[in-house]
């Protein structure tokens, strides 16, 4: 067998091949179609698009055999790329000194006839061939040979197309990146002069530049209001560039939506009163805690309320409500409804698009860049929720969004981090801790409401436990946290589980927390082995036969 000679342009040829990023990619119809046509035109049972890599030939497309690659030394195609101007035709490989003892000839494939047209790039590098093979000695007509060359050019065109697409995508991404950098730079630069405007308006308003007449005060107020509008728009611009570049990170924790709503209402009181719009809220008393970034939830609320105010008329009402999601217990649903001018149903989806402006002639409705709702949608979906709008012209618009309910494990992790952050924070509303071997009475205060459960029994030594309750929808569920010290926390937790089982008639999951122990033990006078505050995050693990979630037992509160 004769080793195929190395083409003169070998290194350039390999570099060109690498640039197309075609090696080891999955089959594609475009190439398979050409291979099929080649085998049809030449009347052969075998055809392939073969690419010659440094040490192997690899088949991008093939008909009539199953191998994905062979050593380069075996490749007929490696011979075919040396004389680039015409196809290599081998009528009978057994009669050819170069191939007669080639494993492809002597082996299962039994190659006899071979015709391969080089795949030539515009620079003249041969990357491989489009080839047809038969297991009988034969030849092909000049027309078929010509057709094979035409088809080989089609193969290269396909590779060129894909390369161009990739380049386009790359430059598009680069442009987006430049645009974001530009936007971010511009927004930052705008902030400095704006700072000066705010400074001096407030200096004048405070009379530090001399007495201010009522007219001057009014005009300064107008400057101030517009500067604030500008500040909001710059803030939105920066937020959107951050969204586009994926730079937003959520700092999730347990969020009580009642607090968020009342905080946001507070900040809107003045502007609502000025417009003679009343704000009402209706948050379900048993609403589960959401698992969300409180700053982001506040931002969503603020955006939606600003929006609602913009479209409210004098004497109107904006109603905020929050309740468990009617279909999905793992979510809460929050709604912000105004009774303003409303929008057409066709606009309900489009308003979340970037830079979308409501088709409204009223000037105040068009103030802003049209980014607020777009930002809301991004923030909600980052939380795993959804946002949508319902509206009727002249009846008002209602925005709904959903947020995930905190899971038991996330909630426990939250409690522990709160605990570790400060000794003075009580465990949410769970206000009773017990440790040691003493017979104890454990009182569990319901997380939000009044104490509702009293238990007596013995605790195993060397551990600390915190009973807690957890809500899914309107259902309250019980669990026990065990703060157990290594090395045998599992055994302690198991003991606790036994104890719990003997005391409570229901099956209650026991959640083991390893590193919370020291922080907790200090506050109860139980001497742990040193201060572990600030050590790695807590290890939260559920010691129970049941998965957490739906399996948690339901307990009816009394009292």
């Amino acid at each position: 067998m004769m080793k195929p000679p190395t083409p003169a342009d070998e290194e350039l040829r390999l570099a060109a091949l690498a640039r197309y990023h075609v090696l080891d990619t999955p089959p594609e119809i475009a190439y398979d179609d050409i291979t099929f046509l080649a085998s049809q035109i030449c009347g052969t049972p075998i055809a392939a698009v073969s690419l010659i890599d440094r040490e192997r030939q690899w088949f991008k497309s093939k008909i009539g055999f199953d191998v994905t690659e062979t050593p380069r030394d075996w490749a007929f195609c490696a011979h075919a790329i040396v004389d680039k101007d015409q196809p290599l035709i081998v009528p009978d490989a057994r009669e050819d000194e170069r191939f007669k003892d080639n494993p492809l000839v002597t082996g299962d494939l039994s190659v006899r006839f071979y015709a391969g047209a080089p795949l030539l790039t515009a620079e003249g590098h041969a990357l491989g061939t489009l080839c047809v093979i038969d297991q009988e000695p034969r030849n092909i007509t000049d027309e078929a040979k010509h057709a094979l060359q035409i088809l080989s050019r089609e193969v290269v065109s396909q590779m060129e197309l894909r390369w161009a697409l990739r380049e386009l995508e790359r430059s598009r991404r680069q442009q987006l990146e430049h645009r974001d950098q530009f936007l971010s730079h511009v927004s930052h630069e705008l902030r400095s002069p704006l700072t000066v405007i705010f400074q001096f308006v407030s200096i004048l308003l405070d009379g530090l530049g001399g007495t201010v007449s009522p007219e001057q005060r009014e005009y300064l107020g107008i400057i101030d209001r517009n500067a604030k509008q500008l500040r909001r728009m710059i803030g939105d611009l920066i937020e959107v560039t951050r969204i586009k570049s994926g730079k937003i990170e959520l700092d999730r924790t347990a969020v009580d939506l009642r607090h968020v709503v009342s905080d946001v209402f507070q900040s809107f009181q003045i502007s609502a009163a000025l417009q003679d719009v009343s704000l009402t809220s209706n948050v379900d008393r048993l609403l589960p805690l959401a698992h969300a970034d409180p700053a982001r939830v506040t931002q969503i609320f603020t955006n939606l309320l600003e929006n609602a105010l913009k479209f409210s008329s004098q004497g109107g009402t904006i109603a905020v409500s929050a309740k468990p999601h009617p279909q999905d217990v793992d979510f809460v649903q929050i709604s912000v409804a105004d009774d303003g001018c409303g929008i057409s149903s066709g606009e309900c989806d489009r308003i979340f698009e970037q830079l979308y402006q409501i088709q409204d002639v009223r000037p105040q409705a068009r103030a802003g860049l049209g980014l607020g709702l777009h930002i809301c949608r991004d923030l909600v979906s980052r939380h795993g929720g959804e946002i949508w709008a319902e509206s009727q012209p002249d009846r008002g618009t209602t925005f709904h969004f959903t947020l995930p309910v905190i899971s038991l494990l996330d909630w426990v992790a939250h409690i522990v981090s709160e605990r570790q952050a400060s000794d003075s924070v009580s465990l949410m509303s769970v206000d009773f801790l017990v440790g040691g071997a003493e017979a104890s009475t454990v009182t569990v205060a319901d997380l939000m409401d009044q104490a509702w459960l009293t238990v007596e029994g013995r605790l195993p030594a060397g551990c600390l436990m915190v009973p807690g309750s957890y809500r899914i929808g309107s259902t309250r569920r019980l669990f026990i946290l065990v703060f157990a010290e290594a090395p045998e926390p599992e055994q302690l937790a198991a003991d606790i589980a036994d104890w719990v089982e003997s005391v409570w008639p229901v099956d209650i999951p026991v959640v083991k927390i390893e590193t919370g122990f020291h922080a907790l033990s200090r506050t109860t006078g139980h001497n742990g082995a040193g201060d572990s505050r600030g050590t790695a995050e807590c290890i939260v693990q559920v010691i129970t036969n049941q998965p957490v979630g739906d399996q948690l037992p339901e307990v009816t509160p009394h009292g």
Binding site: H188, L194, T195, I203, L208, G209
Partner: protein
């Protein structure tokens, strides 16, 4: 009433320096200025300010360099620094606090809040 406290304001924008100094003087502080890193270190040593209001974006050596130098010279405990910067708070607040600043304000800062933070920082120092 005791001796007037001195606040060193570091900013390369003369208008912002001007505005802040009007406000700070009106609130009863003595005001010193610096426009870059080197001036700032010199001014801290000379004017011995009770507090430094520091911009991050400065010519030739940014606010972080100032913090680093002040920390190295062990001047931070006696001269607490509040950063007031146009840089994005989500990125820079943590960084500035880690570098030894006692508070971070993003421009345009709310004047009332800034004054409260100044009072707090001055109070803690005593």
């Amino acid at each position: 009433m005791g001796k007037k406290k001195t606040i060193l304001v570091v900013d390369d924008d003369p208008d912002q320096l001007h505005g802040l100094s009007i406000r700070l003087k009106a609130n009863g502080y003595k005001v010193a200025f610096a426009k870059d890193c080197v001036q700032t270190i010199g001014a801290v040593r000379k004017a011995k300010p009770d507090l430094v209001l520091l911009d991050i974006g400065l010519p030739a050596g940014d606010g972080y360099l100032v913090l680093e130098r002040l920390a190295k010279l062990n001047l931070l405990p006696s001269h607490p620094v509040i950063v007031v910067s146009a840089e994005d708070a989500t990125v820079h607040r943590q960084k500035a606090l880690a570098a030894g600043a006692v508070a971070y304000f993003q421009k345009p800062a709310d004047d009332a809040e800034l004054q409260v933070a100044i009072q707090t920082a001055l109070g803690q120092q005593n």
